[in-house]
């Protein structure tokens, strides 16, 4: 399955991935209108410390701890993508506590927010990858 991978060597810490992710979630067609005066809630986040930076998003684990820990069955693996059913999610955040990568965050809508490889919006393939100026984020098949 194709997954999002991060090449730390080429990450510039520009944070564009976060904005393209937030834009993708809105299903708007103009990024300025979509994000103007908004606090963004991206599914990918750039971690930075001491000049080292890289983006972190859901790894779409084979055996996801988040899904195992989900008390309502809102998190399931659909065609390899760890997906959330926002109707079932009650916002208990157990998944957030369990994700070893810190890739899940609370959503304003009461549920949780995580990367679904842009399968849940109009972009089709991950917007962070398309928007990365330095190929620091790639979407490719690497086996497991």
């Amino acid at each position: 399955m194709k997954r999002v991978y991060v090449n730390e060597e080429w990450c510039l810490g520009c944070h564009l991935c976060e904005y393209y992710c937030a834009f993708a979630q809105t299903n708007e067609n103009d990024i300025a209108r979509a994000l103007k005066d908004k606090v963004i809630k991206p599914g990918i986040r750039v971690e930075e410390h001491n000049g080292i930076c890289f983006a972190v998003s859901c790894r779409h684990c084979e055996e996801p701890l988040c899904a195992k820990s989900c008390i309502t069955g809102a998190l399931t693996v659909v065609s390899g993508i760890v997906s959330v059913d926002t109707e079932k999610c009650i916002g208990c955040y157990t998944c957030i506590l369990n994700c070893p990568y810190g890739a899940i965050s609370p959503s304003e809508k009461g549920a949780i927010l995580k990367c679904q490889l842009c399968s849940d919006n109009t972009h089709g393939s991950p917007a962070c990858v398309k928007g990365c100026p330095n190929k620091a984020i790639v979407f490719e098949e690497r086996g497991l």
Partner: protein
């Protein structure tokens, strides 16, 4: 004391209706133009620091930025331009030589733009390169003048070493130090993929790039940085740099701040020491001396590598080239006055040297008239901007051309001409680690390969139009060119007729 404040040359214009305060511009500007003061609640900028490199413009996700030339002006004066006045203020304030980068930007004639290419019509058929063979492969090096056979009539191979190129284009000398490691790696990988050569420049060759040796020209310049036997043997050819189009007659100076660990090792000089290339080679004061160096290098490489001598295009270029063609060199590279640099005194860059078109035509004519044209191949350099410039240069007599600026543009350079500051936002002319990583060689290689593949297609189209199916049949074929708006003397030097003739 006079006040030296000068209004900025460029203004950064931000469309606040589109700005989403993502701060990408702020993070990407090494000149620290953009800022997000918490109490302002919006992005602000200091245009006086802007060098107009477009990094922020290119990366802004909402396209909220543009850079415009300031309309702030001095009182109009046809003689004392704003530029002239500004430069006097700068020098009165600092006492220093003005520094600039990249090629001469001033308003001198561009002869490439005054020449037009021929095409076949009724009487000689044009060729469709998509249907018929079209050869852009070429070989550089000295060609034998006679055919010799042994007593059984078999051919004796007297062919001196040659460079084989899939197209008549090479990447010109840009040193590791003046440009980044990632820029060098991009050039090396692209050269390998394209079947052409790149040139190390005078800064030696990084040990991890030795594997691209078959696609490398190793340069020996007046500073002799990083020159040792293994280095000379690692490339496909050796270039002696006598001059550079951007700064004929003077040497180079890479400041100590850029001589970090890897560069210091590669150049074989102490960390933090200035790398100064003398104006002349201290062992070359005549053609005879040059001949000694040519043969020293050939001796060191067992006569397996062609030797290139690179000179700047200056007034007596044809006489100089004639001497070089007799010195044992295999190839002459001529660099015109528009050629680029990582740093040069502004007055030199903008006022010294001559156009490559005139220099090339005059050298080719001179060597032909003296019957020594086959002694050497000729490489033309100094602002080749497109495939049509290449076709014109080859028709004027070049065997091959060098591109430097065009290659850097493909890598992201926006010609802001601030290389000397070492803060290149595109990761090219810098050694700052956080900036160097902005140029991912994987992307750089693809872009260089794309550019030259596109140019090769265009060259084939133009050749086909002329009814020529081999680039070597175009070389020196000046009947394929016509001049427009040129006077008789210019036409005579270029060796072409006026359009309509």
């Amino acid at each position: 004391m006079p006040v030296d404040y000068l209004y900025p040359e460029y203004e950064v214009i931000r469309n606040y209706d589109r700005c989403i305060n993502c701060r990408v511009c702020e993070r990407q500007c090494a000149n620290e133009v953009h800022e997000f003061p918490e109490n302002a609640g919006k992005m602000v900028c200091d245009s006086s620091k802007c060098v107009n490199c477009h990094r922020c413009v290119a990366l802004c996700p909402t396209k909220a930025l543009k850079i415009v030339k300031s309309d702030h002006t001095f009182k109009h004066n046809a003689n004392w331009s704003g530029k002239a006045i500004t430069e006097i203020y700068k020098q009165a304030g600092t006492g220093g030589v003005l520094l600039s980068s990249m090629g001469n930007p001033e308003n001198y004639p561009i002869y490439f733009d005054k020449m037009l290419i021929n095409a076949s019509q009724v009487t000689n058929p044009s060729i469709d390169p998509l249907r018929e063979p079209m050869e852009t492969r070429t070989y550089l090096g000295s060609k034998p003048k006679e055919i010799r056979r042994d007593q059984d009539g078999r051919l004796i191979n007297t062919l001196p070493p040659q460079i084989k190129l899939s197209m008549p284009i090479m990447f010109s000398a840009m040193s590791y130090g003046s440009i980044s490691y990632n820029a060098h790696e991009s050039l090396a990988r692209a050269a390998q993929e394209l079947g052409i050569l790149y040139n190390t420049g005078e800064g030696g060759l990084h040990e991890s790039l030795y594997k691209y040796g078959q696609n490398t020209i190793v340069q020996v310049a007046s500073g002799r940085f990083g020159v040792h036997k293994e280095y000379l043997g690692s490339g496909a050819a050796i270039e002696i740099k006598m001059g550079q189009g951007a700064k004929p007659g003077i040497g180079g100076h890479l400041p100590g701040t850029k001589i970090g660990g890897d560069i210091s090792r590669t150049r074989m000089i102490p960390e933090g020491s200035d790398a100064i290339s003398p104006a002349p080679h201290h062992d070359i004061y005549s053609i005879e001396d040059l001949r000694q160096l040519v043969f020293s290098l050939k001796e060191a490489t067992e006569y397996q590598k062609p030797v290139i001598v690179k000179i700047a295009a200056v007034h007596n270029v044809s006489a100089i080239a004639s001497g070089i063609a007799r010195s044992g060199a295999d190839i002459i590279a001529i660099d015109g006055f528009r050629g680029g640099t990582g740093a040069a005194p502004t007055r030199i860059r903008d006022n010294v040297g001559i156009p490559i078109e005139l220099a090339l035509a005059s050298v080719d004519s001179r060597l032909r008239s003296e019957g020594i044209r086959d002694n050497v191949s000729i490489i033309a350099a100094g602002s080749i901007r497109s495939s049509s410039d290449i076709v014109k240069a080859i028709a004027l007599g070049a065997d091959c051309i060098y591109i430097g600026t065009s290659a850097l543009l493909a890598l992201g350079c926006h010609l802001c001409r601030s290389c000397q500051t070492g803060k290149c936002n595109w990761g090219i002319a810098t050694q700052r680690e956080d900036l160097v990583k902005r140029l991912n060689p994987e992307i750089g290689t693809v872009r260089l390969v794309n550019l030259l593949t596109a140019w090769q297609h265009e060259i084939k189209e133009m050749m086909g139009g002329m009814g020529i199916n081999s680039i070597e049949s175009l070389r020196g074929n000046r009947s394929m060119l016509r001049g427009t708006g040129l006077n008789e003397r210019e036409l005579e030097i270029l060796g072409i007729k006026h359009a309509g003739e």
